[in-house]
Symmetry: C2
Subunit: 346 residues, 2 copies
């Protein structure tokens, strides 16, 4: 966008100064007299001078931009995370390039590659459901690219990480179902390859264990595409509904799986919560308006985003190599609504 842009050179010639003087004056250098500074700055403002960030980047070797990799922005949780990221990034002079993996490993690798082509100063990433191998990130990380993981993290790379308290969220959710009298609690979740699946499964298992309920493998269904595929949720549900000792409650582990399960159960005319209760992770704002209103485990998306970008910027702007890393765990919130409370129905 260099349409009619005025440059330092223009100012210099107009004022009969050298480019370096103008450059220094503009950056308020001690080497320049107040008088000259004033002249330069006034002229610059009058002529609407804007420094060219590309030239600056080239010189300084950074781009003041960071890359975000998520599965889809078309998801309340991630758009909240992105809002959190942007709220900090812009105020610190960074801009943000958002890319989507659509849960594909291939797309994830491609996006990361593109981001490095784009010379981003760092990457914020939540892994795709398909990703089990993180070699594409490891090599970049080794070369010095700052990376911060959030949501779906990798243990194989030692860097800052931010997650919701998935274990506890799942634990409390399952506990609530047990407290409400449900005994045969099924679990529909994503690929076991990603961190959140494992953490949430642990919380679920622990809650059962605490009540002396045996873990039943048939009650756990994995959707390898994170619920993008309607069919995988459908078949999981079919399995669960036709199984011997059919479950009386379902605990779902991700935004899309939760809402899709509700939709499918409705289509199947299965009464919630009478025939089967439902509770799941989701950040939808419509939980109250659903039929029935949906019991949810809410993740602090905005806060996760804020934390992640702060940590990333701290790495980027650190003078010396960062070697001490931290994993921040933010609490989830349990909202009990009608889909899991037989007593509360109206």
């Amino acid at each position: 966008m260099n349409f009619e842009a005025i440059t330092i050179k223009d100012i210099a010639t107009a004022l009969g100064l050298s480019v370096s003087t103008v450059s220094k004056a503009l950056s308020d250098s001690y080497e320049i007299s107040e008088k000259t500074k004033k002249i330069v700055i006034e002229y610059a403002e009058e002529h609407n001078y804007r420094p060219n960030p590309i030239a600056k980047s080239l010189k300084q070797g950074n781009s003041k931009s960071i890359g975000i990799v998520v599965s889809t922005i078309d998801n309340q949780f991630f758009s909240q995370v992105i809002n959190g990221i942007e709220s900090i990034a812009y105020s610190k002079g960074y801009n943000v390039i958002i890319t989507q993996t659509h849960e594909s490993f291939e797309l994830e690798a491609l996006n990361v590659k593109h981001l490095t082509y784009r010379s981003v100063d760092g990457i914020l990433i939540s892994l795709s459901t398909e990703t089990s191998d993180v070699e594409h990130l490891k090599s970049l990380h080794k070369k010095g690219l700052p990376i911060v993981f959030f949501d779906r993290i990798s243990e194989e790379i030692n860097t800052h990480k931010v997650i919701a308290d998935n274990f506890n969220g799942a634990f409390e959710g399952t506990q609530h179902l047990l407290d409400s009298g449900y005994k045969r609690i099924a679990h529909i979740t994503s690929s076991p390859d990603i961190s959140i699946t494992r953490e949430r499964l642990k919380g679920y298992t622990k809650a059962l264990e605490d009540r002396g309920i045996a873990f039943n493998e048939d009650y756990v269904k994995y959707c390898m595409h994170g619920g993008r595929d309607l069919d995988e949720i459908k078949s999981a549900l079919n399995d669960l509904l036709t199984i011997e000792n059919r479950p009386d409650a379902i605990f779902t582990a991700s935004d899309r799986i939760t809402t899709t399960t509700l939709l499918l159960l409705q289509q199947m005319k299965v009464k919630i919560p009478d025939e089967i209760a439902l509770l799941g992770f989701t950040n939808t704002q419509l939980a109250d308006a659903l039929n029935p209103s949906l019991s949810t485990i809410y993740q602090p998306g905005f806060e996760i985003g804020k934390n992640a970008i702060e940590m990333l910027i701290s790495i980027i702007e650190s003078k010396r190599p960062v070697t001490e890393f931290e994993t921040r765990v933010l609490p989830t919130q349990l909202y009990i609504r009608n889909s899991s409370s037989p007593a509360k129905r109206d």
Copy 2:
């Protein structure tokens, strides 16, 4: 991200060639022998050479990035639009910077300014609810910055535009309500300053007119903040519900207003559609799962995004100044569900 990056210069010295030879070889110039090309390209691949896009941008005066301005990405319609934009942009080598106005004029102006600082090659914008003055865009447009409007457009700037068929969507929606036997149809909409409000209002009015129903000003409520403010929708609803000749149906004009209206009516224990029917513009995927399932007017968000970016790129890459502009109007889709069909309830 210039960590250990290899440059053209490195290749040149390693191979005993000049930088220009390498540069030309890499871009497959006719001036370079096949033999040299092969050597250069092989070396480049072996050493994982990546051109520095910043240097290229500086030289070529473009940034291969475009800016998007929307109210919030945390909105199904806009995230679908963005998906459409990205689907084309990336394949054409552009990357995308997303900014949000949160319906504030000030933020919109600021974002646009930031985008120009960032040297974007063009801007895709849907105006904020607060925006009636488009001087901030006009001046940039005059200077030659390619701009394409979508969704909420401005008549004051002559450029490409993409919108849903708001008039017809509203017309069909209102007609459907009339066909279903509703006679006193209220309309809750955004600020009258934005294009979509006017277009949808016209469709609503026309449908009434066609049936010989007088337009009742008291039935139309404007939410100046596009429904971001819960209170403005609340007070609109209170007015409508306490009015003489209380409406028997509400037609809502935007995503947020539609879903919030449903939530509020539920809270107020107003039976939908028995006491009041509801139909509105929204792209939520959960319409079927709501209580009651929600009749909606759906905009082709993905297609709107695709069209907008294609038009923008055509301006950016046009050799000569573009003077002929086009406004594309894409059809909406009406989904009739229970919130507007007394007969269909179950």
